[in-house]
Symmetry: C2
Subunit: 351 residues, 2 copies
Amino acid sequence: MAETLTPSALTLKDIAREAGVSLATVDRVLHNRPGVRPDTVRRVKEAIERNSFQPHVAAAELARGRARRFAFVMPSGPNPFMQQIEAYLGEMAAWLSARRLSVEMVPTDVFDPSVLAASLEALSGAYDGVAVVALDHPGVRAAINDLVDAGAKVVTLVSDVPSSRRHHYVGIDNIAAGRTAGALIGRLVGGRSGKVAIVAGSQGLRDHAERIFGFNQVMASEFPGLDVLPVLEGRDEDDRSEQLLAQLLGRHADIVGLYNVGAGTQGVAKALNDRALNEAGRDKLVFVGHDVTALTRRLLLQGVMDAAISQNPGHEARAAVRVLLALARGEPILREQEKIRIDIVMRDNLP
Amino acid sequence: MAETLTPSALTLKDIAREAGVSLATVDRVLHNRPGVRPDTVRRVKEAIERNSFQPHVAAAELARGRARRFAFVMPSGPNPFMQQIEAYLGEMAAWLSARRLSVEMVPTDVFDPSVLAASLEALSGAYDGVAVVALDHPGVRAAINDLVDAGAKVVTLVSDVPSSRRHHYVGIDNIAAGRTAGALIGRLVGGRSGKVAIVAGSQGLRDHAERIFGFNQVMASEFPGLDVLPVLEGRDEDDRSEQLLAQLLGRHADIVGLYNVGAGTQGVAKALNDRALNEAGRDKLVFVGHDVTALTRRLLLQGVMDAAISQNPGHEARAAVRVLLALARGEPILREQEKIRIDIVMRDNLP
DNA sequence: GGTGTTTTGAGGTGCGCAACTCATTTTGAC
DNA sequence: GTCAAAATGAGTTGCGCACCTCAAAACACC
């Protein structure tokens, strides 16, 4: 009746016997230590394969003694999204402690490539793993590669540096996120035609640029009735975003959709609210933004915002830790588990 | 610069010294063994608290020796969603093996309360943890409580039995899922008025009933222009769903939305397709269903289906295992991590 | 054959805890 | 103060592995 997954109560001793070698040799093979003939390596590996042997992770962890140190290199300054990541790491304290893992936050100006690179270089040798919110820049890329060469496991968080030799990227596909935003606005305006506004932090940021790219892609191919206006660069600041958007709303009477690519949401909402007061009766425009924060949550509940594209920060924080741990232990990564999904959050499925 | 989470390189020995007792007494307190004065218990617990001591999970795991056995009690018969859960458990094989966990599938007719209850009773004593797709019925409730009394950790999967003493529920809030479906259809029809059809497996199933409840809630309060037709009970079968829906579509020319609550998607799609062929030019109706399967994925890509409400089966499978393990170890559960979110999946954020 | 080098075996130690035994001390009842 | 029961101390063993040492064996080269 019961189909059983996972047997394996074998130990290294069994593997040694199977392969006709001693424990010491199995140990050498398992840890890539030198001084084993290629042919012997093969025999040992075959024995492991044949029995689908997995070293007991608890025993391995206990035996190695020293704790593991991970560093999270994150933007300094107030950023709700990053603060959430930090908060979720805090919630894991007991979990981390029970595994003798230490996680240290390293705040940095991640927007300055040389500062970021220097911060990364400074970590070399001292950490088993590093998670970094990275800018895609040659200097940063080199610093990441140096860390990898020094033996650290490196994951990029939220923003990737694909050209580096980082072991993993924990974050969403931003082009797909932009496409999703586009499809949502296109569908939710419900056949009306008109103009669509975009407010972004800066088109120089890789994630913002990618989102805008995906957004435009969908708009162009599927919603020809909607006309996308030039991107407003609000630098993720509330005041600036508000002013720019208010101006734009004044100039165009037929704006039916708004995509807020980054932060500055407070300012965007204010500009929208002012318009609603001045021009009551007009059809509400469709407003789609990113991330579920206290503010966007309120806006969704109030009906000001129609949908938020969200990358679960808790999931990102935990995934980063789990991936670093799996890499450090040499375990396989559960790709499906660690993949960050693009969540569409509307009022009724607010988490 | 670096704010560190998690110190604790303490051991039980340190705690014993702190509390002024011996290792044996600490062990007794830690495992609720008898023969310790209340006052001593308090002193030991205080020492643990004071140092925020966490036993080293690897050492504990290693020392206890025997492996843990978990059982997954799931519906027998072909059910894509359940097959996916099983497949994801298979992908965890290495992970499970490294932790010396065994997971056994116990297929059962979960729709027959007495059969299900008997299956559960049969597990008593043999398993450390049980995950069960449960029917909410007094007999099942009693069986779950018996399992709990026998010392097993029990989680309900997908479908809950809130009145039982199960330790945890791994699944979504189905009322919220129904609300989300309602809000989506309401928004996506874009101001048109007309009728909305519902196809469900059976209103006797708790999850289906809850979804319909949430759906009607939203429709009634927010989309007065839409008229919800009586629920079609397709029993999750393709043929029956197709026939019922085809009839309904024939009777009503002004159906603008369709909510498919359960399975039988193939039949639903067929009925829709037939209508599209016969009556070209008519506005496409908005079709929202549940779960991302090979079929719904195709329908989404083809534009036949507009959105799928999804509860990530991989996440559910892994969460169930992690929760059972944490419960068995006496570790705290990362609630935020184990919570199953209601995903809205449209073509552009297909996972 | 002798030499040096590489490969392998054998074994030990300790990680932190669970689980147990047995002796000793403390406590409470009378 | 006596005695039994309860509480505690002291200690052992072993889980499976990482990491280390030292000696023995196999091998390569001349």
